[in-house]
Amino acid sequence: MDPLLPAIILTPIAGAVAILVLFRNDPKRGPLAACAVAALTLVLSISLADKVSKAPIPTGENGPVEPRVSFATDWLSIDLPVITAGKKVHWPLWLGVDGPGLAMVLLTSVVTLSTLLISSRLIDHRATDYAAMILLTSAGMLGVFLSMDLLLFYIFFELTLIPLLVLITVWGEKGTAWPAARKFLLYTLAGSIPMVVGFAGIVFAVTDSAGIDATVSIPAIAKAVAHQHVEFNHAAGAVSDKLLSAESTQCWFFGLVFLGFGIKMALLPFHSWLPTTYSSSHPTTTAILAAVVLKLGIFGFLRVALPLLPLAVEDYAIPLIGSLGAVAVVFGALVALAQRDLRLLLAYSSLSHVGFITLGLFSLTVEGASGATLQMVNHGLTTAALFLLAAVLIDRRRSSDLDSAPLGLASIYPRLAVLFVFFTLAGTGVPGLNNFVGEVLAISGMLSRSPFLAVVAATGIVLGAWYALRLVQRLLFGKPNLGVLAGYRGADLGVRELSSLLPIAAVCLAIGVAPNWAMKMIEPDVKALVSQFEPTPTAKSENVASLADRSKVTEDHQ
C-alpha cells in the first residue's frame, strides 16, 4: 500500500490543471511551472525507485507478474456490471510497479522534464497550454506503466490519445498536422478496438476455465494462466477443453491484442502512421512520441501478452514478431538512408532501433528480454535527445530539409554539435554508451533462438551507422555554408537546453559503463516472466546432452 504510486500519476494531472488555471495567459511562467511539476514527478519517481530497490525481490511463486510496490484499496475496488460464469467481474483498481514498469516510469519522467525544458524556449504560441498537454500525456503514460489490471491499463492507454491529438494538431506543421492527426487516430482506433475485445475475451475465458474469481487483475490472471500452462505442458499436448489452455483460443486473443500493441509500437507493416505523425508534429512533441508513446505498445506486449497468452506468444514469437522486428531493423535503416528530411530520417531510424527491442523481447530469453527492457529506456533517452536537438536546429533554421547540405553547423554551434555527435554515437550502439548494452543482449538472446534473425538484425549495426554518420557529416561538418546559414537565428545551446540534455547524456554514459544496477532492477521480473518459455533446467541439460550425443554419432559416421 503505497500512496506514492497514485501520487506519481496525479501530480502531473493536478499540475496541468493548476497551470491552466493560474498561468493560462502567462507564456513565461506557465512553462516554467510545468517544468517544476515535471521535476516534482521525477523526484517522486526516483523515490519510488528507492522503494522498489528495497522491496523484496519476487520469487516467482505468485505467478509471472508480481508488483514489488503496489497500491490497492478496498473502497476503490468495484464489481463491474458484467457477469461471467455467474459472477460479477471484479475490478480491483490496482496500481503496482515492478522492474520494467519502474524503468519506464523513470524514462517518462526524465523525458517529460527534458522536453518541457527545451519546449519552454521554442514554443511561442499558447506556451502554457502546450506544457499542460505534455503533462497530461505524461500522466496517461505513467498510468499505463503503473497499472496492474487490464481495465485501468486500457483506460490510461486510450487516455493518452486525447492530449496527444491536441498536441499534434494545435502545434504541428500547418497544413499537414490535421491529416497526420487523423491518420494517427484512425490507426490507433483500428488497434485499440480489437485490443479491448482481446482483453475482454481473456477475462471471460480465464474465469470460465480456471475457476478463479472473475477479475481484471493482471497478476491474478497471469498466475492462473501460468498454472494452466504448466498443466498443459505436463499433459504433453493432450487437448484440454479449458479455454485458455487451448492454443487456438490464445492465438485468437493474441491476434487481437497484437493489432493494438503492434500499431502503437509501429511494428512493421503497421508503421505508416509514424513517419507522417513524427514529421508533422512539433519536434518537441515528436520527442515524447518517439521516446515514450511508442514504448506503450512494447510495454503492452510485456505486461499483457507475455504473461496472459504464453502459448500463443511461444508460437508467434520467432516466426511472426521476431521476424518482423529483424526486418524492421534493416528496412528502417535502409529507408532512413534515403530520407531528405531530418525528422523523417530520425523517424525511420527510430523504427529501425525499435526492431532490436522487438527482437530481444521475443527471443523470450532472460538476457534478450532484459536487454530489450533496458533498450526501451535507452532508445527513449537517445531518441528524445536527438529529436530535442533537432527541434533546436529546426527552430534556428526554420527547416528540417537536408538537401542544402553540407551545412557545417559545428563551426557555429559547437555545443550542439558535440551533443549531436554524442547522441548519434550512442544511437549507433557504441560500447560504453547505453544502447550497446541493450542491443548486444537482444542480439545475443535471439542468437540462441534463431541465429538467422539475429544476424539479419545485426546488419543494422552497419546500416545504422551509415545513415547516422552521413547525417552528422551533412549537418555538422564541412565549411559553414554561409548562404544557407544567413537565415539562421539564435545562439548555440543555452543553460536551459544544456540542463535538459546534459543529464540525459550523463545517464546514457552511466548505463553504458555500469548497466548492472539497472539490469538487476529489471532482471528478476523478466526472469519470472520468461521462465515459462524456457525449458526447465533438467530438460535443458538433457537437450544439450542429446545434442552432444548426436554430434558424436555424426562424427562416428564420418
Partner: protein, 643 residues
C-alpha cells in the same frame, strides 16, 4: 585490489578527463599538460610492470567490476596481464607518449588543441584496455572505442569535406568488420554455453574459459568453430586494413599527421594482429581460417606495395606501406596453420608489429615535419631536395626508410626476416606447402617493392634540387626541438630494437605467454636472410637510379594509371556495394510511401464508406468509428465466447 597495473589505462583516462576539464575552463593550450603527464604515467607503469617488477606470474588477473550480469550473460571488466599483452602495451604507451610530446609542437596554435589531446588520451585509454581485457566482449567494447577515437581524429579538421568524408568512411568500413566480430564473439559465447552445460564456467567470454574448452568446442561444433574463426578474422582484417577492407586506411591520412603516426600506423591498426595472436590457441583448431589470413595478408602486402609505388602524396605512400606491412604480419601469423609453427608464427608477427611501430612512427613524424615546413603541402610533385633545408629530418627519414626496406642491420630487416623464415618453414612441410611457397615468393617480391617505393619517396623528397611550394612561404625550416626529440628517440629505436630478435629476447619474453607454445629450434635460414638483404639493397639502388628527374616526361602506362588509382577498388565498391544499396534504399522508401502507406489509406476509407452507408447522413469519422466499434465488439465477443 588496486594494483599498479591499473595505472596503465587509468593514467591515460585521467589525462583525458584533465584535458576535458582544461577545455571547459578555457585553459587553451594548457590541455597538453594533463595529456602528456597522463600518458607519461601510463608509459612508465607499462615499462615497470613489463621489465622491472619482481616476481610476477605468467598470468595475472586483476578484478575490476561487474559490467553485465543477466541470465547466462556474465561479463566482468577485469585486467589480464601476460607477456603478450605487456609486449604490445610497451609499444602502445611508449609510442603514444613520444607522439604526444611531438604533438605539443605540431598542434601548436590549432583551434581544437584541447579536443585533440582529449581524444588522443581517450584513444590510448581504449587501446590499453583493449590489450588488457580478459574477455572478448570487453575487448570488443574498446575495439569500438579505439574506432570512435580514430573517427573523431580523422575528422579532426571537420571543416574540410575530405576529412569529414574520410572519417565517415573509416568508421563504416570498420563497422562492417565489427559486425562480424560481434557476431563471432556472441556465437562463441553461445557455443561455450552449450559445451559448458554443467555450468562450471561462469564467464563465457573469458579467454581462459574459451581456451580451456577449446578442444571440446572443436570436437562438438567443428563447423560452428570455423564460422566463428572466420568472423573473428573478418573483425581483424577490418581494423588492420587488410584486403578487401583496406580502403579506409589511406583516406584516414586526412587526420593530423601525429594521429596517422600513432593510430593509423603504429598501434590501432595492429589490433587485428593482436586479436589473432590472442585467439591463436583457439584458431589453431581451424587451420583454414589461418590459411585465409595468410592469403589475405599476402595479397594485401603485394597490393599495398604496388599502389604505394604509384602514389605522389608522401603520406599516402606511407599509408599504403602500412597496409602492406600489416599484410606481412597477417602472412606470418597465418603460418600458425601448421601446428608446430604456432609459437614461431605468433612471435614473428608480434616482432614485426613491434619494430614496425618504431620505424613507421618515425617515418610519419618525419613526414609531419616536412608537411609542417611546406605549409601543409604533401604532394611530392611540389617539393624536393629538402635535405639542405631539413638536415635532421632527412637523416631521420633515411633511418626509417632503411629500416622499412629491410636493409640490415636496422630493425625492419630482422623482423621481416623472421616472418619470411616462418613462411619458408610453412612451405617446406605442413598441409598447404604449395600455397605457402607461393606466398613466400610474394613475400620476397614485396620486400623488393618495399625498398623501391620507400627510397623513391625518400629521393624525391630529400634529394635533387631544392624546390619549395608557395604555401611554405619564406619560413621553410627544420622543425623545433620538441618535435625533433621524439623523432630522435624513435630513430634510435628503429636502429636498435631489431637486435632484440636475433638476441632471442623477443622469443624468451613472449614465450611466457600462457597457452602459447614455445618456439623451439630457432633455425633461421641463412638463405632467406641473405636474399631479403639483397632484395632490400637492390630495391634502394634501383630507386636511386630511376628517381624521377626534374623535367623528364613520365612514362605513362595502363598499369601505372591503375596503380595511381588504387586499382579502382574504391570505385568497384562504389559501383557494386554502395550504389546498389542506395538504390534499394530509395526503392524501399518509395514502396513505403506508396504501397504500404497507400494500402492502409485505402483500408481506412472503407469504414467511412460503411458508416456513411449505414447512417445515410453526413457523419464525422469519430461517430462512424464509435458505431463500428460497438458493433464489432458485440460480434467478436459473441463469436469467441460462445464458440
Amino acid at each position: 585490489m588496486p594494483d599498479i597495473v591499473w595505472l596503465i589505462p587509468l593514467g591515460a583516462l585521467v589525462g583525458m578527463l584533465g584535458c576535458v576539464l582544461v577545455r571547459l575552463i578555457g585553459g587553451g593550450e594548457m590541455a597538453k599538460a594533463p595529456a602528456v603527464l597522463g600518458l607519461g604515467v601510463s608509459a612508465v607503469a607499462a615499462l615497470w610492470v613489463a621489465f622491472a617488477r619482481p616476481g610476477s606470474a605468467p598470468l595475472e588477473i586483476y578484478e575490476g567490476y561487474r559490467w553485465i550480469d543477466v541470465g547466462a550473460f556474465f561479463v566482468n571488466v577485469d585486467i589480464r596481464v601476460d607477456a603478450l599483452a605487456l609486449f604490445l602495451l610497451v609499444v602502445v604507451t611508449g609510442i603514444s607518449f613520444l607522439v604526444a610530446c611531438y604533438s605539443v609542437g605540431y598542434m601548436h596554435k590549432d583551434r581544437g588543441y584541447g579536443r585533440y589531446f582529449a581524444v588522443f588520451s581517450g584513444f590510448v585509454f581504449s587501446m590499453t584496455m583493449l590489450v588488457l581485457a580478459d574477455n572478448l566482449l570487453v575487448l570488443f567494447a574498446f575495439w569500438e572505442g579505439v574506432g570512435v577515437c580514430s573517427y573523431l581524429l580523422i575528422g579532426f579538421w571537420y571543416e574540410r569535406p575530405s576529412a569529414a568524408a574520410a572519417a565517415t568512411k573509416a568508421f563504416l568500413v570498420n563497422r562492417i568488420a565489427d559486425f562480424g566480430l560481434l557476431i563471432g564473439i556472441l556465437l562463441l559465447g553461445h557455443v561455450v554455453g552449450q559445451v559448458n552445460a554443467n555450468g562450471s564456467f561462469l564467464e563465457r567470454f573469458d579467454y581462459e574459459t574459451i581456451f580451456s574448452l577449446s578442444n571440446e568446442i572443436a570436437a562438438e561444433h567443428s563447423m560452428l568453430l570455423g564460422i566463428i574463426g572466420s568472423l573473428l578474422l573478418l573483425g581483424a582484417i577490418g581494423k588492420s586494413a587488410q584486403f578487401p577492407l583496406h580502403v579506409w586506411l589511406p583516406d584516414a591520412m586526412e587526420g593530423p599527421t601525429p594521429v596517422s603516426a600513432l593510430i593509423h600506423a603504429a598501434t590501432m591498426v595492429t589490433a587485428g594482429v593482436y586479436l589473432l595472436a590472442r585467439m591463436s590457441p583457439l584458431l589453431v583448431l581451424t587451420p583454414g581460417v589461418l590459411m585465409t589470413a595468410s592469403v589475405l595478408g599476402g595479397i594485401t602486402a603485394l597490393l599495398g606495395a604496388l599502389i604505394a609505388l604509384f602514389q605522389h602524396d608522401l603520406k599516402r605512400v606511407l599509408a599504403y606501406s602500412t597496409v602492406s606491412q600489416l599484410g606481412y604480419m597477417f602472412l606470418g601469423i597465418g603460418c600458425a596453420a601448421s601446428v608446430d609453427l604456432v609459437g614461431v608464427a605468433v612471435m614473428a608477427a608480434m616482432f614485426h608489429l613491434f619494430t614496425h611501430a618504431f620505424f613507421k612512427a618515425l617515418l610519419f613524424l618525419s613526414a609531419g615535419n616536412v608537411m609542417h615546413a611546406m605549409g601543409d603541402v604533401i604532394d611530392m610533385h611540389r617539393f624536393g631536395g629538402l635535405r639542405k633545408v631539413m638536415p635532421v629530418t632527412n637523416i631521420a627519414f633515411l633511418v626509417g626508410a632503411i629500416a622499412l626496406s629491410g636493409i640490415p642491420p636496422l630493425a625492419g630487416f630482422w623482423s621481416k626476416d623472421a616472418i619470411l623464415s616462418v613462411v619458408e618453414r610453412a612451405s617446406e612441410a605442413g598441409p598447404a606447402r604449395g600455397l605457402y611457397a607461393v606466398l613466400l615468393f610474394v613475400g620476397f617480391f614485396t620486400a623488393l617493392l618495399t625498398a623501391i617505393y620507400t627510397f623513391r619517396a625518400y629521393f624525391r623528397t630529400f634529394w635533387g634540387e631544392t624546390r619549395l611550394p608557395e604555401e611554405a612561404g619564406h619560413h621553410a625550416h627544420e622543425a623545433d626541438t620538441t618535435m625533433l626529440l621524439p623523432i630522435a628517440v624513435l630513430a634510435i629505436g628503429s636502429i636498435l630494437v631489431g637486435f632484440l630478435g636475433p638476441a632471442g629476447w623477443v622469443d624468451s619474453f613472449l614465450s611466457r605467454t600462457p597457452h602459447l607454445p614455445e618456439a623451439h629450434e630457432h633455425g633461421e635460414s641463412s638463405i632467406v636472410m641473405l636474399l631479403s638483404a639483397i632484395l632490400g639493397l637492390s630495391g634502394a639502388v634501383f630507386a636511386y637510379f630511376t628517381r624521377p628527374k626534374l623535367g623528364a616526361v613520365p612514362v605513362d602506362s595502363g598499369f601505372k594509371r591503375a596503380g595511381a588509382n588504387r586499382f579502382y577498388i574504391d570505385e568497384i565498391y562504389g559501383a557494386f556495394v554502395v550504389l546498389p544499396l542506395q538504390a534499394i534504399s530509395s526503392l524501399l522508401a518509395w514502396l513505403d510511401r506508396t504501397v504500404v502507406n497507400g494500402l492502409f489509406e485505402f483500408i481506412a476509407t472503407i469504414p467511412r464508406a460503411l458508416g456513411a452507408a449505414i447512417r445515410q447522413t453526413q457523419s464525422g469519422i469519430v461517430q462512424s468509428y464509435a458505431l463500428l466499434m460497438a458493433v464489432g465488439i458485440v460480434v467478436l465477443l459473441i463469436t469467441i465466447v460462445r464458440q
